[in-house]
Symmetry: C2
Subunit: 683 residues, 2 copies
Amino acid sequence: MTDGKKKEIPETQQHLVVFTPSGLRGHVPNGTSILEAARKFGVDLDSVCGGRGICSRCKVKPAIGTFPKFGMTTTNQCLSPWNDVEEKVNKKKLFKKGQRLGCQTKIIGDVIVDVPSESQIHKQIVRKRAEVRDVLVNPATKLYYVEVSPPNIHNPTGDLQRLKLALEKQWNITDLVISINKIQTIQTLLRKGNWAVTCAIFSQKNSAPEIISIWPGFFESQIYGLAVDLGSTTIAAHLCNLRTGEVIYSTGEMNPQIRFGEDLMSRVSYSMMNIDGAENLKVAVQESLNDLIEKIIQDCKIEAKQLLEITLVCNPVMHHLFLGINPTELGQAPFALATSESLYLNSWEVGLTSLDNCKVYVLPCIAGHVGADAAAVILSETPNTSKENVLIIDVGTNAELILGNEKKVLACSSPTGPAFEGAQISSGQRAAPGAIEKVRINPLTKEPILKVIGCESWSNEPEFSEYIKIQGISGICGSGIIEAVAEMRTAGVLDGSGLIGSEVDTGSVRCISEKRTNSYILYDGTREGRALIKVTNSDVRAIQLAKAALFAGARLLMDEMGIKKVDRIVLAGAFGAHISTKHAMILGMIPDCKLDKVTSAGNAAGTGARIALLNIDAREEISNTVKNITKIETAMEPRFQEYFVSASAIPNSLYEFEELNKIVHLPNINFNKKRRSIRRKAK
Amino acid sequence: MTDGKKKEIPETQQHLVVFTPSGLRGHVPNGTSILEAARKFGVDLDSVCGGRGICSRCKVKPAIGTFPKFGMTTTNQCLSPWNDVEEKVNKKKLFKKGQRLGCQTKIIGDVIVDVPSESQIHKQIVRKRAEVRDVLVNPATKLYYVEVSPPNIHNPTGDLQRLKLALEKQWNITDLVISINKIQTIQTLLRKGNWAVTCAIFSQKNSAPEIISIWPGFFESQIYGLAVDLGSTTIAAHLCNLRTGEVIYSTGEMNPQIRFGEDLMSRVSYSMMNIDGAENLKVAVQESLNDLIEKIIQDCKIEAKQLLEITLVCNPVMHHLFLGINPTELGQAPFALATSESLYLNSWEVGLTSLDNCKVYVLPCIAGHVGADAAAVILSETPNTSKENVLIIDVGTNAELILGNEKKVLACSSPTGPAFEGAQISSGQRAAPGAIEKVRINPLTKEPILKVIGCESWSNEPEFSEYIKIQGISGICGSGIIEAVAEMRTAGVLDGSGLIGSEVDTGSVRCISEKRTNSYILYDGTREGRALIKVTNSDVRAIQLAKAALFAGARLLMDEMGIKKVDRIVLAGAFGAHISTKHAMILGMIPDCKLDKVTSAGNAAGTGARIALLNIDAREEISNTVKNITKIETAMEPRFQEYFVSASAIPNSLYEFEELNKIVHLPNINFNKKRRSIRRKAK
């Protein structure tokens, strides 16, 4: 802990030490190390080796000069000279200019010591968007280096007991638990490390800390965690350094459960109708995640035992399927979850056989329709700390809606169906190369220009035809159909009730009549033997139903909150990242809001998973937040049906669209010759 | 909880209620149920259903008559009349005469209520021997019946959360944990039980209580635990009812590890010399215990999920092998245990795949040579609470010695080798039918009479020859060789140094000379084509070495305790149960002690395992006791070698044998013609 020179320094004198940037300060006896002083005053200074000069984590920069702010003048004479340990660190070029090792440098005069961010235990991850909080890195699992007494024939306690004693004496960690598979390795590791080991210890509130990994001697490398977003369609994973919080690697793959059913309810049906249904679905997703983890370990060149934590977010059906719980109850009222609280699991309990002793944290589910993914979105977007009323919309097969402010958070799920994902649309497809993702229609000519995934150019640019020759246009994805319908409306091809005009109504040859309805041709590749992509009136109807459901859900929440207007809208998820907020507002998908207050949060669920991974307090926070959320069950609210019907017009008739009217003119047209409006149908 | 009639009874009046045999008493309002009153005054009255009239566990017997002791006269009028629930119980013939259901019977006058032992939660198991404590049944796992709120669409907490809430409200159990495999079953069980289930909850100090088994509705049957003594040679198991403490079934089988090495050290060698050595040994013993459990479940017609706890005792090598820990360190100084403290494990962690969610408790090891079996012996024999100095001797391949009183407990292991088990003896064999187990030699004729395992008669009785015709005599077991050597000594066939006399020395034709040593013929079956069983001078030497080691260990402990004489000797283990204490004392195996103070404890290790199974406090007690034991490492004590050499005489020369001299005369003879005495050899 201290070198032999300590005795030579008189300890009677006291010196002032000021730490920056924290400003923490106090007096210490002559000869105290900077690390000791930092611990005394609660300064956030990292150390894995406990001050033995091994880990080089406690690098600090003493400030030399005159500092009027502190009324101090400091010189190199205020600190002990470099010792052998620091010479070694210097030779390895581990010091930045002016740096010292906190554990080796003794205070022998008044000093100011700067703790660089790299040397802080609790690193801060600053996020780009101003409205969301930064993330403090304070993971559940940390590394501790310890030196253990060798066995003594006259005091025959076990090696484990001496390791525990060392952790208690050197790190003040008590009541440790350890699994039998780790106990099996202790003797070899202690001897290999010459009676020193580095332990990864997992701590969570209300539970005994656990030794989950052990390395012989001082472990030079890093430990990692994986934030997983287990979607119905894709499984996304982000590997993070548990010390720095840095995202090392992000990857994903398709959810293999798709072969049992594209949408969740068909997977629920599969598990209801087949004896091993739920088991098959469980195995499929667990194996797939396991494969993904193996790939990550391989790609990132880390060892399985370095990956020590996983946080998992998903919707309730995926939650149950992943955990091997039959999801039948989620397919019928009252949509009872088997368990709603967050879960701490071990990797082997959920089939992650490629990992050694990894801890899996599953975020809490909010309700039978509003899952851990929505909880993660809340953790990322923090509506619960917002002074404004924030509406968060996460669109998938169902839309999850969260409306909140610092006083109250509401949540519901709206049965939008899969139209927003391009399903149930005549030319619909997944967002993949060849899919139309953006559409603009000239109000005068009614001619469209398109943008296709995989091509940087619009269809009126020369590069586009080159692309088309190779790839072709195969369909229209979710964001594309929304833009198409919205543009059709603003271009006067579609009326407020959702009817597409005929060629006569609109003067456009693109409007064709088939049977008793009209369609609008977006792209005709038939002459080149390619697809004919049109928007049919059924497609428009499907979008109308979906957006009416979405809007009705939002409206219910606003009623419950007692507000007529939201201050801010956050579009979460992959869909939210690609959707044009203007077009969404034209459609009447989302409530009226200043356009610059409508933001896309990207993969907010994944970010929430990452926050829970990096900060242990966030786990408790989200559990408490979820408990206090008011859950609205749309299926049970009589007004939902009413709002749903009223919201089918484009834009819907439920609402003043002040903000929308500032940016767009919606033509007042009515193609009511063949009165088959959705509105009547819906009634 | 209470029936509808409660309202009709005026609650203003207070009545005195006295419970017997506890004597607990107090006043309760008119109309209070006997169960409620019992809870109020801390009376030990069982109930699994929480007072719903389902479990019939709270049967009590109100005392009717005049009781001068309490100054009370009671009549049937002091209690509410039988209700429907009691009528049903009566129809099922579950009541003994005069019994009532505590939860259904209301107190409407002063009463005396007797709680029969069957209705007490904490049953007392009275043990036969006066010097050992009785066992209070207070297991870690108990049953709780709960009624759970059905799911509510407006308050979408999970089924698990509502179950936890019910357990908190109805039983005051908080912070429950539950494994994922149990969570998977909750929804089905709650619905099957119509929103009522019976939970088996496992609680131990310093750890959250855990739901380890769930049954739909009220579970009528019993839960069980298994006390396992994992010996080097045999695995013994006792199935106990966790409510009554009763032993339902005892069984055992050979330890299959014998194929890897008869004695422990050869198993340690096997695991050192083979890459998968320790793994193979682990699998062998785990599979064997698993098979044994399957057999018990089948034989006792119980379900795997009713077997909820296992306690395990074993020596340190078996401890490590069973747990999958390489035992190499136990084969060399300083004999470091991987872990010495007690362990809580789950059955699947130790390969017990036939069980559902069973908790395995492994008792603590005392030292590298003194295992959890010795700890269990202490738990059974309680030297730590004795006012006298008690020496406990557990003889196996090594002997474990414990010397203790209420102030101090000492323990050591002595390297007796396997001679006491009949190994390394020319005609030695395991204790099995055909083995000589008892020997008497007439001092005048020098003729022996024998008793053989499997035959009730001595060899001088007529029935014996009938037996011999069928079974034959195949060898001599551990207790047999001890008696043989001791009887040879008292009959004057053997001298104090351990030399067998020749035919000339002894005048007996049974003493034959071979090469340069003599043997004594115990049984000559050669004329009938059967075995010749003799005691050679090598056999005597092997016994001398073993008993000298045992005695030297005891002497070391007595030195450490500062005593010259022990007050009481307990012989533990199967060997201890069969050995003749008189002969053991003649040999000088055990220190001098009044013969009536030398008792056999039978399978004390198994009893200790059973105590730990039935009483949760005993687990903490033994952990604390073990921590405070002074461990003596015989191999490191210079005096051990000295005592060992001095103790090889028969009886040894180290000690006054006052008590022994009262009961036996040891002839003063010396066959020192061919001076090859052990004493000189040992020097």
